[in-house]
Amino acid sequence: MNAPLRRVAISVLVLFTLLIVNVNIIQVVRADKLREDDRNTRVLAEEYDRERGSIVVAGNEIAVSVPTEDQLEYLRTYPQGPLYAAVTGYYSLVYGNTALEEAENDVLAGEDSRLFVRRIADLFTGRDPAGGDIVLTLDPAVQQAAMDGLSGVTGAVVALDPSTGAILGMASTPTYDPAQLSSHDPAAIRAYMDQITAGDGPDPRVNRAIGDNYPPGSLFKVIVSAAALKEGYKPDTVVPAPDILTLPQTSTQLRNFNNSRCSGSQEQPLIDALTISCNTAFAQLGIDLGEDKVRAMAEAFGLDDEGMEIPLPVVDSHVGDIESDAALGQTSIGQRDVRMTVLQAALVAATVANDGKQMKPYLVDQVLAPDLSVIDETDPEELREPISAEIADQLTQMMISVVARGSGKAARIQGMDVAGKTGTAQVREGVRDHNWFMGFAPADDPKIAVAVFVANGGGTGGDTSAPIARKVMQAYFEGQGG
């Protein structure tokens, strides 16, 4: 019986080797995938045992972890509810982290290398490692005004400090309550997610300020103006402004908004063309300048730049293909394939406001250690200088004219000059237009630059978006004691 016994012994060895090989596959080869699987709540659960850092706006915690009685030691709460949802994102057992909860996770979870020295100290002092805090650049009054302005519509607002790039406001609608996605009850989380994503309406999880791009419409005329000024045009240079422009080599007739007439003489000064947002004038101007000049100026303002992070990732803005002069004409009035994020629009306004210097936009002002000492601070950084101070000044004069006596009258603020530009972008046949406004104030010493986007608002940039921009700017000045 010994021969079969030996074979059985060897077979057992083989079976156990199979077990060991299989365990190796799971715990080594597949380990990372299993560990990072969204449905694996272990790593997350470990995070929940630590006090996650707060996200702070003007001294108030807008995302804060509080101790609980249940199995996960800390609960993430958002005391302001949906107000800052676009910026904070959520911290969910079921759906993972988004927005700043994701982008700044290392700091918030206490794993950032800048916190490392303190963590070694934690080992010796026996404290539980805690996360660092993130202090944002946001201005609560601006944020509130932006969300109020967007109530009932789909859209986004971005407000910048033109001289630093600090983001003063970033709002997106429709929105949601991040606290409900960050609870400890998976069933409730799923139910809430189903509720906010039900139907085929706009997805509240998208931050429309940076998470998508849209045709900018007439906002783009500011860039074409900049290109013209750089080529020696002056604000009072008279340009052709026909009632109807037949695009070159096509039978396509380009008209002005509502088939209106720009000028009885079929020509007008550049400043007037911008003031009333004359389509035919800018289409012809773009064609006259040529694709290279228009594209170069757009890229100088940051279009076609890739991979911006604030630190939230920003969708790229781009000029798109321009196959012909006809396409160039349409591009010059912000149609065709031009796409801009709302942040990019705010950047264009802020660049004009800041003497042509574009500052890198940022949301995080300071990183604080658990003991609230500052371990990192963002220094304003110049990204690029698309236009000279002189051209910036001329553009400012033209944009003041837009608000003072043109399409942007609804953005006027008592006692100060406001510079701006409206935009009403056609989406496609049968879909209501997008409504834009970008601008800054005070025009002579800009403190705030704003871009407002209302998706499919159906009105014009002037009547739908300009009033929101005005309220946001006013809220800022009131908050500053002005």
Partner: protein, 469 residues
Amino acid sequence: MPGPLTDPRGTAAGDTPTRRGTEAALLGFAVLITVVAQAIVDLTVTGSIRPEMAGFSAWIAALWVVAHLVVRKWASYADPLLLPAVALLVGLGLTVIHRLDLAAEQVGSSVTREDAPVQLVWATLGVALFVGLLVTVRDHRALSRFAYTLALLGIVLLALPAVLPASMSEVNGAKIWIRVAGFSIQPGEFAKLCLIVFFAAYLEDKRDVLALASRKVAGLELPRGRDLGPVLLAWVLSILVLVFERDLGSSLLLFGIFVVMLYIATERASWLFIGLGLFAGGALVAYQVFGHVRARVDTWLDPFAYVDGAGYQLVQSLFGLGTGGLFGAGLGGGRPDQVPVAKSDFIASAVGEELGLFGLVAVIVVYLVLVERGLRTSLVVRDPFGKLLAAGLAFAIAWQVFVVLGGVTGLLPLTGLTTPFLAYGGSSLVANFVLVALLVRISDAARRPAAPHAAPVRLGDAPTEVVMP
């Protein structure tokens, strides 16, 4: 518990050392590991060592001291690795169960019962039976006389849950329990032992006949048609277990053990193929006919497709193992409580999560040592009954470990068998102590010198068989 390296009687007998000193040292090591591991769990989870720790340490040490002394006295030539391997596995099992108790307290689970102390009581009962068996059964060959009684007992034990009302026998869909007055036992674990003893005796008796070949087909010498009876009977028994108790594991276990013992007894590989064929046929029919078998197989093939249902447990187990990685989260550092029934069926995934690949492989290797020492005993022992019994017992552990760990790690479909010695569950633990007592008893006979020093075999009524020298 230091002891002399060799038993004086052993040296007096000649050149065969008893190796009791080795066993004592290894047992000491196992106790040390157990106590340290328990302390680490307490410190990691609660921050302080629980007050009952001293009592626990003393108790667990006492268990193995007693077991060791009994082996020293009544089975002095026993294999020195069997008991320490068991001690290590039991100690680790108690530690992991205690760790899961603490996890349940942490999450404020409504079930506040602590299972580790209960398991310790079962281990104590196991050691008591171990001692009792070694003291009363001085020669394993005596067991063969009760073969048919044991067979009857085994079948009754196996069948009992099937005939009892579901309220007394069914837990989580498997009808394998007897629940009386707050106690629940799995008679299948004891039936397994009874049947292995019976198989050994029966095959010793009939192996010459069963080895007769009728004709040769494709190089295989096939048995005679009328000799197919026993294997068919075993197969039918397994199928009945599957049908009436919905117990895939025991069914697979019993049939596998029988076929392998049949192969060892007859040295005919054809029995393996016949067994395999019967198994394949049975498996195919079972898959077609029984929803619960089909569900198990489907879940096994793609657990992630059933992550919210039948696959949840396995997926959680895989997550635990993956998160544990090479070195594990450390005892008390993981979340093994996220795997449902981690204490019993899925205890191996808790080991893999907290002790990592190294820990889990170490446990598998300890099982391998246990099994291979058992098979070695079978090789060395001189009487056919002892050979078959030791082989059957050792293979039973091997097969069960393979099927259970294979299930928990997604290599095989889940079967619902328990991990021997490690998992929570009184019946399994106690039965496996009896199993290892039998192995110790046979290994003592295997290694004991045949010199006149050997104690005279007392079999009560004189046996009719001739004892082979």
